[in-house]
């Protein structure tokens, strides 16, 4: 798995490429942690190249929901494949984490 991060205006984009599982989820956790340390407040996770997610990946997103609500940090996921989105839906996490179709929609939510 590969993580790329970059800024687009005020948005902090995290791109995930490959499989997010028990062996790789720590990389995503580190990327989000780094964004928080850098006081980023508008995070967009681009999942267009994300091929697989297991509970380890879901758990990383889940663990930040509370902190982000308390600290007014927005986290929006975009470009999920149907396969990946289905995994969020099994436990209803798609209703607790903001998921949209495109990066433009993610930016609109983050404003």
């Amino acid at each position: 798995m590969r993580i790329t991060t970059f800024k687009e205006n005020e948005y902090y984009i995290i791109g995930i490429e490959g499989d997010l599982d028990a062996s790789s989820s720590i990389q995503l956790d580190q990327a989000i942690e780094e964004a928080v340390t850098n006081k980023e407040s508008k995070l967009i996770v681009d999942c267009s190249q994300l091929e697989y997610i297991s509970s380890a990946g879901l758990g990383v997103f889940m663990s930040y929901i509370q902190d982000f609500q308390e600290n007014n940090i927005s986290l929006v996921l975009c470009h999920l494949s149907e396969k990946v989105r289905n995994v969020f839906q099994i436990l209803g996490l798609d209703e607790l984490i903001k998921i949209v179709e495109t990066k433009e929609e993610a930016k609109a939510i983050g404003q």
Binding site: S25, L58, G59, V60, S63, L91, L96
Partner: protein
């Protein structure tokens, strides 16, 4: 066709498990959405066995074996290793909102497995712990 795979207990090998389950089920003409769910369930159980079982000394003891059996629409995934027996079914399903409030990263893997599979059996047959995940598919 040989429907068995043996991997060393290392999280890096979970990709091998997923590819094996996916390819085997594709060869059995299982539809993609059902394959994706069963791949996830088997991955979760194997990850659980790898991450929560203490490492053993001998090389043989550090393996996980997976076998896929099927008869008509009934699929059984047999997962066997020499790790400790942990009764998955006695594991109380956590409340997602409670996990979020506690900022937990773990605790939902087995919940996913229970949602996906019809049943999970775990037993001890020395020197092995054997898990049987069963799923009956309803093809259109």
């Amino acid at each position: 066709m040989d429907n068995k795979i043996k991997i060393a207990r290392n999280p890096e090998n979970l990709k091998l498990v997923r590819d094996f389950v996916s390819t085997t089920l594709q060869n059995m003409s299982v539809p993609a959405p059902e394959i994706n769910m069963m791949v996830l369930a088997v991955d979760e159980v194997c990850a659980n066995r790898i991450l929560h079982t203490p490492a053993n000394q001998s090389e043989a003891a550090n393996n996980i074996e997976l076998e896929i059996q099927h008869e008509n629409n009934n699929f059984t995934f047999l997962i066997r290793d020499t790790g400790d027996l942990y009764d998955i079914n006695s594991h109380e399903s956590p409340d997602i909102r409670k996990l979020i409030a506690e900022k937990r990263k773990g605790g939902i893997g087995l919940l996913l497995v229970k949602k996906i599979m019809d049943s999970i059996e775990i037993s001890r047959s020395e020197p092995y712990t054997v898990l049987l995940l069963r799923k009956t598919l309803k093809f259109a």
